[in-house]
Point group: C2
Chain length 465, copies 2
C-alpha cells in the first residue's frame, strides 16, 4: 500500500537541514550568525545606511552546564531600515518568503536564511525567536514567534509595540544548540573577512565569555548601489519568456523586446526578430507556442546582443580591497585585478582578484580567501571554482612562485545570481565563464607578482634561504 | 519600497535548478535519465518484482538539426507496480510530493526528482510530459501534463484510459533540451554501474542513433527488502519528539517510549526515564515543554540504547558485489568488506567496500566507484566523503601499494537517510561516523591486498618492470 504525502518547504528543510548548512551544533551556530549578519548588511546597503551591526552570543539557561554542545542565545542587531511589521512574521517564520527575489545583487537570494536560523533554534531548544524592529524610529514592534513547520507559517506568541528612541533597525534573538568551542575560530574569521571587504561597516562581536571584538569602519563612503536590472536575452528560457508575454502591455514585439530585455535597442531588436522569423509589428499575445520556442532558441543563437553592463553589479572596488589587504595582511607586495563585467547564462557577473605576497602575516604556502557578493566563504574550499582554478589551471612555476612562498589569493565574484551549488552558500559551481574570468584575473596578478619578484631578484633568493 | 513575495517550491527550483543538478543541457539529460530510472528501480524493488527497465533517447523534432544542445525525447519504461492514477498528476507535477518520506532505505527521498525532469523539459521545450501507467494490468491510464510552476501544481492537458495487456508498469516520456555528445559517456557509465550493483535488473538502453546496449540480469534473486523502521533515540530532536507525543495513543511514558523508538525494550525505557527524571507512569500528554527539552537532551546523553539493527537496511551483499566486480573488471585480485551496521545522528547505515587490483580492465592509478543506496554517483568525486578518506586518511604506502598500481575502490553506503550535500544527490557529506566506517573497511581490504601482493612477492616486482 503506497501512501503519498506532500511536505511543506519548512518540513523539507527541517528533515534535510544538511542541505541548508545546519549540519551540526558548531556549523549551525556559525550559520545562524552569518545568515542574520548578511540580512543586516543587505538591508543597510540597500537603503544606503552605514551599517552598525552588533552580535552577541550568550550561554542560555542551566547555570552549571559547561560542556558543549549547549544552548546559546544569538543576538544580531542593526541600525538598518527595519522590517515592515506586516511582513515580520513571514520574513522570519516562512521558508521561501523574502524581498530578494528580484534581479539585483544582494547577499540573500533564497528567501529562507533567517527562517532557517529560527527553525534550527526551535527544534533544538523549543524556544521562540524574538524580533524587535522599527521602520520609523517612533514605534518599535516586538514579535515572539515559533514556526509551524508542518504548514510553513509563523505562529505569533506575543506581539507588542513600544516607543522607539528615534532609531530604525532590527534586532533578532534566537536560542539554539551550538558548539562555540568548535566554531569560534570560524566565527571570528567570518567577522574579520567581512570587515576586509566591507570596511564601511562597524561590527561588534561579544563572545560567550564576554570578550569584545570591534571592527571599526575605515571609510565613510558606501560602494555605489547595484541597480535592479532586466533579464539578459541569453538568460531567458521558455517559461520566463511566456510569463513576460503574459504580463506584457506593449503593442508590438519590437516594443516588447526593447522594454523587457537588458540593453536591447530598437535596431538590434528588429534585427533579432527578423533573424527569428517574427514580424516586429506582431502583437505579443498573438505568438503561438511554436513561435515562443523558436524565439527562445534564437535568443541563444543570435550573436549581436550587447553583453551585460555593470550597473547592476556592485564590486568591492580596487581601493577598498587594497586597503583591506594592507590592513589585515600587511604584505610585502599586493595587487588587485578587477575584470570587466561578463555573464553566464545571461546573468551579469564580474570577478575581482587580490594577490598578496610575503609580509607580517602570511605563512609559507598558498592561502585562498573566497568571497561572493561580499560574503566570506569559509567552508568546502576544495569544491569551489576558485580553488580549482588555482590548483588545476594555473601554472605557478611559470611565474617563478615556488610552492612554499607565502602567498594569498583573494577572489570576489559578484553577480545578480551567484551560482552556489548548495542552499548553505558554501561554494560556487564551476561555470566555464566564471572559471575563465578568475583564471584571467589570477594570471594578470601573477604577471605583476612575477615582475616584482624578478626586480627583487637575487636579493630575494638570498633572503628566502 | 521593499516588496515581499512568496515563491512556491517549484518556482524555487526553477530559479535555482543548479541546486537540483539541472545545470546545463548535458547534465540535465543525465539527471532526467537517472531520476526516472531510480524511480523505476525503487518501485520494482519495493514490490519485489525483478526490474525490466527500458530507456530510450530520441532526437525530437527538426529533422535537419544536428548541432547540440538540442531537444530529445527521453523515455523510461518499467514493469513495476505502476502509479495509482489518483496520484500521478502530483507525483510528477508537484515538488515535495511522493511516497518516500518514510524511514526506509530507498533511492528516492526528496519527493521531487521526477518532477524536476518534467519541469526542465517544460522550460526548455514547452512540451508536456506523458505518463502511462497501469496498476492492475487491466486498464492503462495516460496523462499529458504541464506544471504550473508558479503554483507548484500539475495542469492535466489530456487524460485517457485504454486496455492494458495484462502487465503493470509505468512509462514516462519527457522532451527536454539535452546535449548527448557531452553526456553519452556518463549515461553509459551510469547504466554499467547500476548493473554492477543491481545484477537482478534487466536494463536496455537505446541511444539517439539507435545503438542498443543491454545489461541482462545475472541473478533471479532480489536482495532482502529493507523494512520501515522507528526513529532511533539519538536521531530525535524537540520538534520530532513533540509530534510523536501529539499523535501518541499510549497511556504511559514507558509504553510511549517502547512503541515509538527503534529497539527500545521495557527495562531500558524505565532506566532511561529515571535517568531523565521522568516517572515511567506519567501520561505523555502531561509532559511540560521543559520536560520535553530535558528528555530530548537526555536522549542524546544516555549511553545504553542499543545501536540500530540492519533490518531496515538492504546492502548490495558480498556475493552480488563480487560477481559484479568479476564481470565488469576481470581483476587479478579482488575482495569485499561488509561492515556491521552503524548510525549517524540516529540514522542506521552500513558501508560495503570492494577493492580491486590488476586484471584486464584497470589502468595504472587509483579509481573510485561510489554508490549510495545502490545509486552510482558519477559527479563531484573530490567533494565526497569516500574520496577524502582514500586520499587523506589512508596511507597506501603502508600496505605496499604503489601510486601507479592499477587499483579500484568501490564504496557503497546504504542508509535510511543518505546525508547528501546537494539536492542533486551528487556526493555525500563527511559525517565522522561514515568516515570511520569507510576508513575501517578500506584498511581491512588493503590488509588483504597487501597479503596477496606479498605472496606474489618478487615475481610481481619483476612483472611490473
Ligand atoms: N535585519 C533585517 N533588516 C531588514 N530586513 C530584513 C532583515 N532580516 C531579514 N529581512 C527581510 O526578511 C527577508 C527574509 O530573510 P531571509 O534571510 O529568510 O531570506 P533572504 O535574505 O531574502 O534570502 P537568503 O535565504 O538567501 O538569506 C529578507 O528578504 C528581508 O527582506
Ligand atoms: N516508475 C514509477 N513507478 C512507481 N512509482 C513511481 C514511479 N515514478 C515515480 N513514482 C512515484 O512518484 C513519487 C515521486 O517521485 P519523485 O522522483 O518526484 O520523488 P521521490 O522518488 O519520492 O524522491 P526523489 O526526489 O529523491 O527522487 C515517488 O515517491 C513514487 O511514489
Ligand atoms: Mg537572508
Ligand atoms: Mg525519485
Amino acid at each position: 500500500m503506497v501512501t503519498f504525502s506532500e511536505i511543506s518547504p519548512s518540513e523539507f528543510f527541517y528533515r534535510n537541514r544538511d542541505l541548508a548548512g545546519f549540519t551540526n551544533p558548531a556549523r549551525a551556530l556559525y550559520m545562524a550568525v552569518r545568515e542574520l549578519v548578511e540580512n543586516s548588511l543587505d538591508a543597510c546597503e540597500l537603503t544606503r545606511m552605514l551599517p552598525d551591526i552588533y552580535v552577541r552570543i550568550v550561554p542560555d539557561g542551566q547555570g552549571g552546564e559547561t560542556s558543549e554542545p549547549r544552548a546559546y542565545r544569538v543576538t544580531v542587531a542593526d541600525n538598518g531600515p527595519g522590517v515592515d511589521p506586516h511582513h515580520v512574521p513571514r520574513a522570519f517564520g516562512k521558508v521561501f518568503y523574502g524581498s530578494k527575489y528580484v534581479l539585483r545583487q544582494s547577499r540573500g537570494m533564497f528567501g529562507m536564511g533567517g527562517t532557517m536560523a529560527v527553525l534550527y533554534g526551535q527544534i533544538t531548544t523549543n524556544k521562540p525567536v524574538k524580533v524587535t524592529t522599527s521602520v520609523d524610529g517612533k514605534s518599535r514592534h516586538i514579535f515572539e514567534m515559533l514556526i509551524d513547520i508542518g504548514e510553513n507559517k509563523p505562529i505569533i506568541l506575543r506581539r507588542d509595540t513600544e516607543e522607539a528612541n528615534g532609531k530604525t533597525g532590527t534586532r533578532v534573538d534566537v536560542v539554539l544548540e551550538g558548539d562555540f568551542t568548535r566554531s569560534a575560530q570560524k566565527i571570528n574569521e567570518y567577522f574579520k573577512q567581512t570587515a576586509l571587504v566591507g570596511s564601511y561597516a562597524n561590527l561588534t562581536f561579544v563572545d560567550p565569555i564576554g570578550r569584545i571584538s570591534t571592527f571599526e569602519r575605515a571609510t565613510e563612503s558606501l560602494p555605489p548601489p547595484p541597480k535592479e536590472t532586466l533579464p539578459h536575452p541569453y538568460g531567458v528560457d521558455v517559461e520566463a519568456f511566456k510569463r513576460m508575454v503574459k504580463l506584457n502591455e506593449e503593442k508590438t514585439m519590437k516594443r516588447f523586446m526593447t522594454t523587457h530585455f537588458h540593453r536591447l535597442g530598437d535596431k538590434t531588436a528588429v534585427k533579432f526578430l527578423m533573424f527569428a522569423g517574427v514580424k516586429p509589428e506582431l502583437a505579443p499575445e498573438k505568438l503561438s507556442n511554436e513561435q515562443v520556442v523558436t524565439i527562445v532558441d534564437a535568443l541563444q543563437r543570435f550573436q549581436e546582443f550587447l553583453p551585460p553592463d555593470a550597473s547592476c553589479l556592485s564590486p568591492v572596488g580596487e581601493q577598498i580591497l587594497s586597503t583591506g589587504i594592507l590592513k589585515e595582511l600587511e604584505p610585502e607586495f599586493s595587487t588587485v585585478v578587477a575584470r570587466p563585467p561578463s555573464s553566464y547564462s545571461g546573468f551579469p557577473f564580474l570577478v575581482e582578484v587580490g594577490l598578496v605576497y610575503g609580509g607580517k602575516v602570511l605563512e609559507p604556502g598558498r592561502k585562498l580567501f573566497r568571497f561572493a557578493n561580499r560574503i566570506p566563504l569559509l567552508y568546502d574550499e576544495s569544491s569551489d571554482v576558485s580553488f580549482r582554478v588555482l590548483n588545476e589551471e594555473i601554472d605557478w612555476r611559470r611565474y617563478h612562485v615556488p610552492d612554499e612562498a607565502p602567498v594569498a589569493v583573494i577572489t570576489h565574484i559578484c553577480s545578480t545570481k551567484v551560482p552556489y551549488k548548495t542552499v548553505g552558500k558554501e561554494y560556487i559551481a564551476d561555470r566555464p565563464e566564471i572559471e575563465a574570468e578568475i583564471r584571467n584575473a589570477v594570471r594578470e596578478a601573477l604577471r605583476r607578482l612575477s615582475l616584482y619578484l624578478s626586480k627583487k631578484g637575487s636579493m630575494e633568493a638570498v633572503q628566502r634561504k
